[in-house]
Symmetry: C2
Subunit: 337 residues, 2 copies
């Protein structure tokens, strides 16, 4: 079944079928309906593969994700996938956890192997980027929700993210202003020198600005996982009766923390205050509602795809965009003043 | 930079570099380390694209998802992606919500456009499958966590899922045995004739087997969304003071239901009992813990990929696998006896 068969059965010319397929306005409505009915009944699918091969243009955009599991990234992928499809490109999703140890090599091999026209990385550690990091690939690279540490080579890639230091500062300062002094920080992975590192710095800065001496023993590792957050918090609370607040740098960890507080016989928002991070539904619908730093997830996804396609069309240079976060107050924090 | 350059710089032959790249055991350790160092420093990536093109074998497996957003599917995608990569194939992820209205056409055009070697569909409505549905595509089709209604053509595709009717029966019967008679059911979409429909049938059957007359007004629509589940439950509880239990057919809806119960001034597990479905972390860490029907998510993902590759290797015929669910008791249900 090809386009000529469809035209013959529909009783119209091939060019009319083509106009219908391309959503051209210049087709009579009854004709359009008839052609679409014939197409549907015949299971005919316009096969573009040959043309795509001939052009050697796969129109693939890669999305390399640090842990698809993380519901924060799922929400980003959802929006990014829609936007890539709207631009008539294909999203190829790959996880960043199990191929090689080095993130830059992951990007380069992903781009080459899949002949990508561009790549968006969600999360990951990019601590040693420099002028030469992406010299072997000639496609737009967007690092989203990633914090890069090195200042060199920033004209070779784009970033879309938030100010992690300031956001963590705001959360910590909020707790201090409510009278808390012994505030634990739950970070993600121990060797995460990006997001966890910047949020750790914001937490430390807020303590120091308020004349509170940081204590290394107030740092706990939750691995961005509710189960682990729950277990380490249970242990932590047994040893540390002086703690009055825990700031967890993701909402899924904050949920594990909250349950551990409850299972320790303590009351969330009274004995132990909790602040999360991300602004996921779980922080809103938890009992009690968990105060959190809301990230602009949809905006982050839209902006990433927008920059990528602008770069592809040579409509812009590489950009570094910081979006605003918002502290959302709920019932999980006690006022000790 | 090609394999000959790497060999030259490393001071070894091309075949040695090739053995290192293919993880061949027959290479001296110091040589291996030296070659890997040169490869790393030169950013060389073995480029298989030309070979892949020549073979006209893209090695792509499509995963078509009904709502990537759903954390239940995120977890499945995570495992499926890993397994596809282990088999040296590429996962192409596409959402099923916005291209065409008809699910079978979505599959066919996805397979043709992306030249897929196989496809796994997560969720979706497949009510009118027949002998001819997949006649235009010649690759394995696996429907995972989908309930098909029609009995014909089942040798043309495989399914991996659970017994939705029995699982919903178990949840409802559990509530009835605890003395509940006025049990509301929160389903997903109103026109979902698959998962929601079978779970609805299980709920109705349990009521009838226990001599309870089903009441149409006990059916509420939560759209698989915490926000919507929360809003409709708030309204529902205002009108229906007789209800003592709500069975929500997903944990993310159960979370919205629980919060609505709490915000209505009622106590979860005392005034209103709640049972969820899926066995996500949110049901475990919610306060109170929510009784749920646990689906074997990882097993479901692994089985789907296993059948797909067995079909590709002609090692099996199409299969229809039903996996077991488990009712996990937590604190969200009152015993009225």
């Amino acid at each position: 079944m090809n386009i000529r068969d469809i035209a013959r059965i529909s009783g119209v010319g091939v060019s009319t079928v083509s106009r219908v397929l391309n959503n051209h306005p210049d087709v009579k409505e009854s004709t359009r309906e008839n052609v679409l009915r014939v197409i549907k009944e015949s299971n005919y699918v316009p096969n573009n593969s040959a043309r795509i091969l001939k052009q050697n243009n796969t129109k693939n955009i890669g999305v390399l994700v640090k842990g698809v599991f993380n519901p924060f990234f799922s929400e980003l992928i959802n929006v990014i996938g829609n936007k890539i499809n709207e631009n008539k490109y294909t999203m190829i999703l790959q996880q960043n956890d199990y191929v090689l140890e080095h993130e830059v090599e992951n990007i380069i091999s992903f781009v080459k192997e899949k002949r990508l026209q561009g790549i968006i990385c969600l999360g990951g550690n990019f601590i040693d980027l420099d002028e030469d990091s992406f010299k072997n690939i000639d496609v737009p690279v967007i690092l989203t929700s990633v914090n890069t540490v090195s200042p060199s080579g920033r004209d070779k890639y784009s970033t879309v993210g938030i100010n992690n230091l300031q956001s963590a500062y705001d959360a910590t300062d909020y707790l201090i202003k409510k009278g808390h002094k012994n505030i634990a920080l739950m970070i993600g992975e121990e060797n995460d020198f990006c997001v966890s590192w910047w949020r750790y710095k914001g937490y430390i800065k807020a303590l120091k600005d308020n004349n509170i001496e940081p204590n290394d023993e107030n740092l706990i590792i939750g691995d961005y996982d509710s189960n682990i957050a729950y277990k380490v918090t249970l242990d932590f609370l047994k040893k540390r009766k002086d703690i009055t607040a825990i700031f967890a740098i993701s909402d899924i960890m904050a949920m594990g923390v909250a349950k551990a507080v409850i299972d320790s016989g303590l009351i969330v928002g009274k004995d132990i205050s909790i602040v999360g991070f991300d602004g996921m539904n779980i922080s809103r619908y938890y009992n009690p509602g968990i105060t959190t730093i809301k990230q602009p997830m949809e905006e982050m996804a839209i902006k990433s795809v927008e920059i990528l396609f602008d770069l592809l069309k040579n409509k812009c240079e590489n950009q570094h965009v910081l979006l605003d976060t918002e502290l959302i107050e709920r019932e999980s924090c006690a006022d000790l003043n």
